[in-house]
């Protein structure tokens, strides 16, 4: 029953105002619903695979979700996962096209058949050793999305010369974006953004203590940075940094 019908019935007295109002509201929601039975799902909309966040969910629960989705999606990523989750996933859908990346804490279910051409190149740097798992998460999702990743880990600001070698390589290889992962004072992304000519995505990590503990200090530093070209994601959110970097890299391909 569309709006016209409702209004006609209201005028003719078949329904009262309360009923009419509710019917119109229903019609409004239904119309959105009828026309958003998506054929292509989320990959199409944002270019990013379906993601299941494992942390805080039981392995069986995660396995169940993957099993339900696997027929509809070519690529599924389970983030913040351990080997236990991997075993559960394999138990349910078999091991074909399923990979576990322990450093990135990620399970990747990729059944596209072909890996396709490379989407582009990005760089990923970390200030310290403890920042590596977050960086690996960024790298894994970027690779799933078709990027090559050039890595430079533990190049933190105290020894600026350690930074130069990987940075030169990234510039030579013409990366489209650099992801910089840093905890503590979080100054590295500013330094990098001042030296490269491409967008830099800063990822604060929850390393740090005292005032600004839990990554708030690093996040604040990155947001306060005076160097343009530096954008930020939430603390420890390597996933989003890697995914956005891949979207930027994709710009090169999609003229």
């Amino acid at each position: 029953m569309d709006a016209r019908e409702v209004l006609e019935k209201l005028v003719s007295g078949e329904i009262d105002i309360d009923q009419a109002e509710r019917l119109l509201r229903l019609d409004y929601v239904e119309r959105i619903g009828n026309h958003t039975v998506f054929d292509m799902g989320r990959e199409c909309r944002s270019g990013i695979p379906e993601v299941v966040y494992a942390s805080g969910k039981e392995p069986e629960k995660v396995g169940e979700i993957v099993e339900r989705v696997v027929n509809k999606k070519d690529i599924i990523v389970v983030s913040r996962a351990s080997a236990e989750y991997y075993d559960e996933v394999v138990r349910r859908i078999g091991g074909e096209g399923v990979a576990f990346k322990p450093e990135a804490r990620m399970i990747i279910v990729d059944r596209r058949g072909c890996s396709g051409e490379s989407l582009g190149k990005i760089g990923i740097l970390t200030a310290g050793t403890s920042d590596i798992p977050v960086a690996e998460e960024a790298a894994a999702i970027a690779e799933v999305m078709g990027c090559s990743v050039i890595k430079g880990y533990d190049v933190g600001i105290a020894g600026i010369h350690r930074l130069l070698e990987p940075l030169k390589k990234m510039i030579k290889e013409d990366v489209a974006c650099v992801v910089v992962v840093a905890g503590m004072e979080g100054a590295l992304p500013s330094v990098v953004a001042g030296m490269v000519g491409v967008p830099v995505i800063g990822v604060p990590t929850s390393i740090g203590y005292g005032l600004g503990a839990g990554g708030i200090g690093a996040l604040t530093t990155m947001l306060q940075s005076c160097v343009p070209g530096l954008v930020v994601v939430n603390i420890d959110n390597g996933f989003n940094a890697g995914a956005t970097a891949a979207l930027i890299a994709k710009m090169r391909r999609t003229r």
Copy 2:
């Protein structure tokens, strides 16, 4: 005197350890200094014009800085400026190639002679009317950097249909990036990031009150967003959002 000389003198007893240590440190700083007399300046390094932040500085001070820099740089941008600053700048360096954009609170000194080809296209959206000055700042810097900007203002989440028209136009025109400016609860960037296939830069504005006032609420929402592809700049930092968007747009041109 390089490190070898210092060490020789130390061994021969001409200098003591304290002196040697200081000389080595001086040598270390000097070597960096000698080799970083940049010829090309900041534009080269980051692709972003020289910026003078006017807020909190006297017009004369700003005028003085512009006058000093204008011969070395082709493009200078004075941000958070009023007409008073514009008058002072024109008084000192003349009006040629100097423009004042009141909505963006920005003075642009552009003496490149030619504006050059378009770098690419970006989209800029605001949730409310009060967010417009921040959006205009983003637009102005992106245009200076050679981008075309498609704008859609006051399309906030309460009426999602107001958002669709400008969004369709942006997708049709194939923008490389969408800047979304929003205060209060700051939910618009998430919605947009869920609908477009390109990176979204969220700019929280200092609109809002109560818990999360001053833009903290909007910033938090954007950082917490579950939708990948959304990165964030600091509250009211339209400048950085516009500059980064232009860098992303430039990806298309620079294969």
Copy 3:
């Protein structure tokens, strides 16, 4: 061009994957857009009049918005407005059906012709004298939405007996909801929620100083309250409290 067409062209090689992807995304947004040309607007969806938030906007800007909307909407409310805004609105659309409520800082444009039957009754209490403007804002919007309002102002917790008289009246009149506006320690809503059998909406106000200044103390108290039936809106948000109270009152009418 719908999804099928896109896919056919892709298979036939007329378009490439990048083009196909963009076309599909455009199709997705367009489909939402085509089907959400709302006939009934916002009143229908949420039962709440169109609102213009005046604070931080020029009177001319507000006047312009009202002028644009007045033909499409029966009721428009301008909140946080002064007499200056009222004059501007009257100058543009004439004074018919336009009222200014200075205590509530609100302009109401009501051109429904008839005020209709009463929707129901709500109660509004304030702890102190300084909380009254926020309470008046709640009262004004509730009245616009068809409610009768029983008020009891300055009945704060220090003298609990001052509270009893208005509370008894509210229970006798069988209000559907009580809005309680309080700053400082914000304990009054808990006390009221413990005594009445209907939902209580607590509105913290920005009265207060020291630790918990700006209303944070009152907000925290209300959220921490052990007494069920107490829900909260943001600091000073009388508007939302009044509107929600009216929606609750409407429950009585709409069986």
Copy 4:
């Protein structure tokens, strides 16, 4: 000894001012005390069952409280309870009319004999899977209070179409109120409040990390929301949301 007597004794010199003052204060408190020997208890006052919060108390302690109260109250609810608490309760008062709802972490002791007619209908939505226990808590208390509950879980904002099916059902069934449980950025309640014509109660959950961790981000978003009709309870307080929703539903019954 009432106030008059005190004052007479003071005048006659039998007591001094200090004693008189203390006696009057005692009289003041006693009078309140004498007249507030409640016959009907808390159910009457607020329409909500007696609640025992188990978290942080030993099972024996909780069992002891339940045993003491069970003769005076028809309905007792133990919240945040595990099976261990349930066993203890059954050990003390027997299993008749005692139910344990593990998902809601709740024990319900209901000895009313009859469950009575339905009070009304409410809807409960969650954004993610992790928000379900809080939603179940809301559902359990609402059902105890006589409501039917329509549930829609894991319908979060990333896939807005997943939201439409349950929302349509809720509108068709004419729910009196929708409880929306969401962590992370907490944007779902705003979206729902913009689509339904009834009050929405937002429940932020302690899901989330980085800036705004522990639910502060979701709470802030909900409080900052521009959409009227949305009220909020404290983080993870499903109990209060369910109880208030039931009070609102009750409005329909009690004209």
Copy 5:
């Protein structure tokens, strides 16, 4: 109609359950109301005069409140008041028994006829010159309540010897309590509490900057103090400190 009547009517079918419930709730509130028509008012209950907080209220509003209360109360105190408020009060109720203390920003209306015997002695210290207005507020209310006050201002911790002279005087005079007013790091109350054998009330003031600005630093220091015997009031709340000190001093009198 008392509870018995209500229940009888319910059983006989004269009223239904909803009506009965509402009547019982009304009865509950009414009974509290009938029996708390206080004869002696607030002075009796807490030994503290009626207070009107002027800040944020118009002089006329304050004058109106004083005028209304003056016949029922012997002592009224208007806090945070300027001369303008004093003039307004005198204009309305005449100048008899009305005093203005500009340093304490307080108007005192005292119409008891006799000032009575001294209640006891307290000491008041400030760390700096800027803390004096808060200290004067404490002194004024303590004097109104019948205390003698020994003052020692600007004796801050940097020069501990400046503290000793007034402290010795306070101990000699056997004060019952020492109020210590301090901003910045707020360490003075700890030092004093370590040296005297009576309770110390710390009053943080909003002097200070940087981390802990607005008095939060001083408040935190006082709460964290390891020295027992130190209790605290909110930032700048000289009024409460003076009133509580007077209540403590009164202990001596009221055996």
Copy 6:
């Protein structure tokens, strides 16, 4: 060598300015040192027993401290202690005059020989069951200092009538001070302070969740309270509350 000697040597050239300056500084510190060899120790200065805070220290460490102090002090209190600490203390100094109060988590070493006359009476109330350990700590220290304690536990604000019985007893017994321990919203101290004529010491506890978790909510409410006569100690600091209450009670004795 006193200051005069130093200056004479400086003038005569025996020492230079640097040496003179250091000698004077040494003299300054030495003079304080020589004259502060206290005979009476801390009991004299503040009327409060020596306290050892056990939390975070090994039992052996605590035992060692007690052993060292026990000959110099009549009374030692070990706070936040478990049975393990008690065993260690008894192992070292024997069990005579050593008591362990598990609910108060306190060991008391009292070797005064006689307990002496009662110092006075205080009242202690808690809002909930979980607040009891903090209240017991307050009670234990007050009793050590010679006070009788009237207790009323679990009388929280939701059922105000539960509060009246213990409050009446406290007023009848003429307590000098009431300690009120409360978590969550922390409103109980305000209510009590409005009903009694003696100082009230509020103790926020770390019970609570969401916004204001960890006791910050309760602390804020107590500091923001409009009711004079209410002073506050830090979260969970039952010790300080009990000690200060005893100091106030002592006022009655020490005219």
Copy 7:
């Protein structure tokens, strides 16, 4: 009356325990007092001139303090002062030896007759132009204390080469300490501390906006820095930074 006398009188019954306790406490405080009549004042103790903080005090008040102190002290510094304060000071004590430094907002009253030998050298750097007043305050106090100051202003991190010139000069001149003043992200002190071999004192300034506004961001960055040798003072506290730097420089002189 010393402790022995008190105890004798107590034993003989001349005084009771309460009196004895109070007398002993008085004796304790008196003994500190008698022996701390300082001859040399504060300069001796800490090597830092007497300071009067003008901000928030009336010019007359400041003038009065200076007038009172000027005969006892050789050097007085009035910080956060304007010309108006200078005029008042000169009006009262004459202009001899009185200087006003407007950039440092400081009045210096120096009546030592001779300025003496140089104490040593320090360096002062600022990141931006807006940080200069804080740096000038540091420089002024360091010079009063006998230091030579090498300045390098506006050398912020965006253009690291601007930093090298002044840094090389500071190392050549062998400064004892470098004060680095920076707002926004506050990363400059870390960079400097990584390059020099002397202590660095970071001064965060209240420049900055959004998350970490008011200097909190810069303070956090400096505290979180991984580079040892960097210590921090409070936001905008140039005075303390300059004074401490001078104390460090003095180390060189005072072997």
Copy 8:
């Protein structure tokens, strides 16, 4: 290829602008890189040994880093380490010159052959027993850097006389700097800074609870202190305090 070559090729058309820009950027980074192949490493630059932060890293990881660095560095310090880490380090590089300091949680690898002359003296004080590990960390690094350390532990503010003995010793021995470690209210550094004539480095520790818990209270107090000469490091950062103190002590040696 240097800048000139690049520009020549650009003019001759061999390369386009994009390529030229990237080549110039590469040249810029390469030049820094080529000239910062440091010969002397970090010891030279800052006078502080190479540090490995063990907390959050596996023992093997730490052992691997030490093994890699040990040939290039004379001194390596592993901080926040347990015996397990020590065993791993010894297993890999042998025990020669390797020491474990359990109280300081530090492993020191010192293969300089000779310990050299003493650099100078510093003092280290703690307020309480729980602050000792942080103080020991400061002592260990200062000793590695060649300082003698005079310690005074558990001298907290409650008993100021306990402070005087170690303070006198420090002044007599003419320490160059005093490190003061304190949690809770953190007032001790202010008191010490008011009594000594040398710089004081305050180290807040994470001891404390309630408002200002986790060391924020102590940090705030130290930053707010009015006593000049007091500088601060982050919470629990004994390492930085000890290292900076050693740098200050070194001033004496390095004229």
